[in-house]
């Protein structure tokens, strides 16, 4: 296999990953690392570096669209980014010291968790519990567009959300993923933000979190141009195509299939690490 074939194959894999990631809302980053390590035999450090770079690309691309629609809560996002960036720095430093088998096992467990959370039915608390002292002081309460015009909401549970965001940051820096699932969990469940606001604010934050981790990766030499190039371009193109047809697609079955694939990859990563 020569370099052009190798690059094309990885680019194609990344394209499919980005496409499915955008359609299912799981993000393309999660399958890049298992794809590169299990299928292409790439060392996990290079794989994490390439994946994290692609996460910045898709998150910034998507956030550009959402921010303008007025869904994402910039203040909530900014405040929680303190927790995610500190977490990402801690995670990226941890990569330098943890054994590859340990990283693979953590990766597998996180993959299983995200596969599970994407297929189970979400229950959303719609009840507005009224203002909260910390959230009011931080001016987090806002409005978002609904079918009946702008609707206001109150933010709660800032300390719990902040703690969960730190965990999301560590996972992002350690594994090269966006950890959108943990971010949405923090805002939806702990902080009681409307679901649409949670998902778009999460997307808005992923880029900053990933940039914190990627800065460390770049400086430590984890980001290889020959590998990151097809991964970044492939995932970006795939996610743009995915976002285009998202409105027309029936994603339920697809999400089940994609979650199944992720679960298999997760088990294989753990198996390889333990073996």
């Amino acid at each position: 296999m020569n370099t052009i074939e190798f690059t094309s194959l990885i680019g194609l894999g990344a394209l499919v990953a980005g496409f499915l990631g955008a359609l299912t809302g799981l993000g393309g980053g999660v399958v890049i690392v298992p794809l590169l390590t299990l299928v292409f035999g790439v060392d996990i450090h290079y794989a994490i570096g390439a994946a994290l770079v692609s996460v910045i690309a898709t998150s910034s691309g998507a956030a550009a669209a959402y921010v303008r629609e007025g869904y994402s809560n910039v203040r909530v996002g900014m405040f929680l980014e303190i927790a995610t960036t500190v977490g990402a720095l801690v995670g990226a430093m941890l990569v330098l010291h943890l054994r590859v088998s340990i990283i693979s096992i953590i990766f597998g467990v996180v993959l299983l968790g995200s596969a599970y959370s994407s297929i189970k039915e979400h229950s959303h608390s719609i009840a507005d519990l009224g203002p909260d002292r910390i959230a009011t002081w931080l001016k987090m309460d806002s409005t978002y567009p609904t079918e009946n015009g702008l609707e206001s909401y109150h933010v709660r549970g800032v300390p719990q959300g902040f703690g969960l965001m730190f965990v999301a940051g560590v996972l992002s820096g350690l594994l090269g993923i966006g950890s959108g699932a943990v971010k949405v969990l923090a805002m939806d469940k702990a902080m009681k933000l409307p679901f649409k606001v949670s998902t778009t604010t999460s997307n808005f934050m992923i880029g900053v979190t990933a940039a914190a981790g990627a800065g460390v990766y770049l400086a430590r030499g984890y980001i290889d141009p020959g590998l990151a190039m097809p991964v970044m371009l492939g995932v970006l193109a795939g996610s743009l195509i995915g976002a285009r047809i998202l409105a027309r697609a029936k994603v339920k079955v697809l999400r089940m299939v994609f979650s199944g694939v992720i679960a298999v990859l997760a088990v294989e990563m753990i198996y390889n690490a333990v073996k």
Binding site: F40, S60, R68, V74, K139, S142, R220, A228
Partner: protein, 124 residues
């Protein structure tokens, strides 16, 4: 959300999009050069060696990119990509200053400081 917030969101959206497009253009151009010159067997990625100095420091990357080396151009694109969310945070500092929202000026300055520290972390 008041009008100042909304305007801020619009500029932020445009900033993010420009950054991603610019990064993709550099990565694509660098990829072309890289593939045209790199006809040798595939690099062995199975063993982690780490990138050479000139592909992991900001000054080294600029130097390599100006020499029109494929790897340097790709890394410059990736550097622009990493800088895009950082630019967004920097812009937020200015926007919150303009709104005289001191709490969030401090919040965004903390995030900005962490991000800059991360990029320069390799030298510390």
């Amino acid at each position: 959300m008041d009008r100042a917030d909304q305007r801020m969101d619009e500029i932020m959206g445009r900033l993010l999009r420009t950054g991603v497009v610019l990064a993709a253009v550099f990565v694509l151009a660098g990829g072309g050069v890289y593939l045209a010159r790199h006809r040798t067997p595939v690099t062995n990625y199975g063993v982690f060696q780490g990138e050479p100095e000139e592909l992991r420091t900001v000054s080294g990357i600029f130097h390599e990119a100006l020499a029109l080396h494929g790897g340097g151009l790709i890394q410059l694109g990736l550097l622009i990509l990493i800088a895009t969310p950082i630019a967004r945070v920097a812009f937020s500092v200015v926007a919150f200053l303009y709104q005289r929202d001191w709490t969030y000026v401090v919040v965004t300055l903390i995030v900005l400081g962490l991000l800059v520290y991360s990029l320069l972390g390799g030298h510390g």
